[in-house]
Amino acid sequence: MNSGDIAWMLTATALVMFMTPGLALFYGGLVRKKNVLGTIMHSFISLGVISILWVIYGYSMAFGTDVGGFVGGLNYLGLSGVGLEAGPYSETIPHILFAAFQLMFAIITPALITGAFAERMKFKAYLIFTVAWTTLVYFPVCHWVWGGGWLGEMGALDFAGGTVIHINSGVAALACALFLGKRLGYGTNAIAPHNVPMTVLGAGILWFGWFGFNAGSALAANESAAMALFVTQIAAGAGAVAWIIGEAFYQGKPTTLGAASGAVAGLVGITPAAGFVGPMGALIIGIGAGIICYFAVVAKSRLGYDDALDVVGIHGIGGLWGALATGLFATAAIGGVDGLFYGNPAQFGIQALGAVVTIVFSFVVTAAILKVIDVTVGLKVTPEEENQGLDISQHSEVGYTW
């Protein structure tokens, strides 16, 4: 074991943890004042709920001994056998530290989805949804790519979770938005963010934590982590600039919210590519994410579904772009595998296949989960509760007394 690797991975774990409250603030500022606490609660409570699942069976389902390429077995139930010794996923850090690092990814993924059903989901239904979704969708897909499952075995490249986290949650978000339907007044009344500074703070925290997300996925304090950190920065910055250029041309003004959103889009885009591309590839990925995700968000109003906080446009589409771009720009000089632009077109095909299967699986299973919960507990708050706001109706709390 290597104390440098351990030190870095401890730090990276904390950085990724910080992204979840960062996400809470990013989303919180985007909703109306009456829903700020309900929205923050969705992300924040994920820190608790998913941690409990992870210890009992989650880590085992994701990283246990492979069963049919589809899911991990129960050999790590209760984290038995996951302790201070190294391996099997890293020889230089304790197994328990690998589990801790991965837990932070499992926490933030279901939290991402919450943006789609912001301002209208029952809290009880949300808790059931997040347990069911993480168990039936996240743990298997995580296993497919990182836990010894079929997608990783096939050679799909996903350094820090473009497919496992972003395509996955983005598609689930689409299912949620379609299933839950629109918020009252959507399309006729103005529904605007109540605190853009809070959102920008959240975006800054996400950017900061993403260094742990991407560079930590090297699982070591090494050259790969160094390049991953650098390309993360480039993609984020390029994404912010590209988004506001898109805004300036298409809508007349560059906005602060656009800059924050573009940065997040760039970060999403570079996530699968972070250990496989160089700075110039990251630049193109960031610019692409900024432009593509901006127009995806603009297109949303034309398509008519209420994905309240643009999870589909930024995480779904951004993750898809990133996964495919990894298949284009990967270079063996950095990550050991070449993409299409370096003479290996097959990689692009593998990336596309992984994306498509994940999209179908996530959408179908998420829809099934939503149906079951809706029929039993009911997903949506009543119109009166929705008008009153989640803070009072679900939590008997008020965000601000002024």
């Binding site: 103005a190 605007a192 805004e247 919210l257 968000v297 949303k300 109003s301 643009d310």
Partner: protein
């Protein structure tokens, strides 16, 4: 007794207050309000969605006066709050039935 209610542009508040103080008007209540008449609002853009916001921020001043002072005060506010552009505001004069000072219980013009 009369109430003079003046809706003015927020940045004009200090000018009006100063002019009133110089005239000897001893108190007022202000609130921050929104409104529109002929002055247009503004456009806000959030993630590709455009919102037209009709309401413009204004300040409402409420001053209670002896009948005799009303004309002079109204003329003073008009002069101090005027910019010559749309949105300068409006003044309403309404009768007041009773005024009471909480500390002493005084009533009528003594309480103004």
């Amino acid at each position: 007794m009369k109430k003079v209610e003046a809706i003015i542009k927020p940045f004009k508040l200090d000018d009006v207050k100063q002019a009133l103080n110089e005239m000897g008007i001893t108190g007022m209540t202000i609130s921050e309000v929104k409104g529109y008449g002929r002055q247009k609002g503004h456009k806000e853009i959030y993630r590709g969605a455009e919102y037209v916001v009709d309401f413009v921020p204004k300040v409402k001043m409420e001053i209670i006066l002896d009948d005799a002072q009303v004309d002079a005060v109204v003329e003073l506010i008009v002069k101090a709050a005027n910019t010559g552009r749309i949105g300068d505001g409006k003044i309403f004069v309404t009768p007041v039935e009773q005024v009471i000072r909480v500390r002493t219980g005084e009533r009528g013009t003594d309480a103004i």
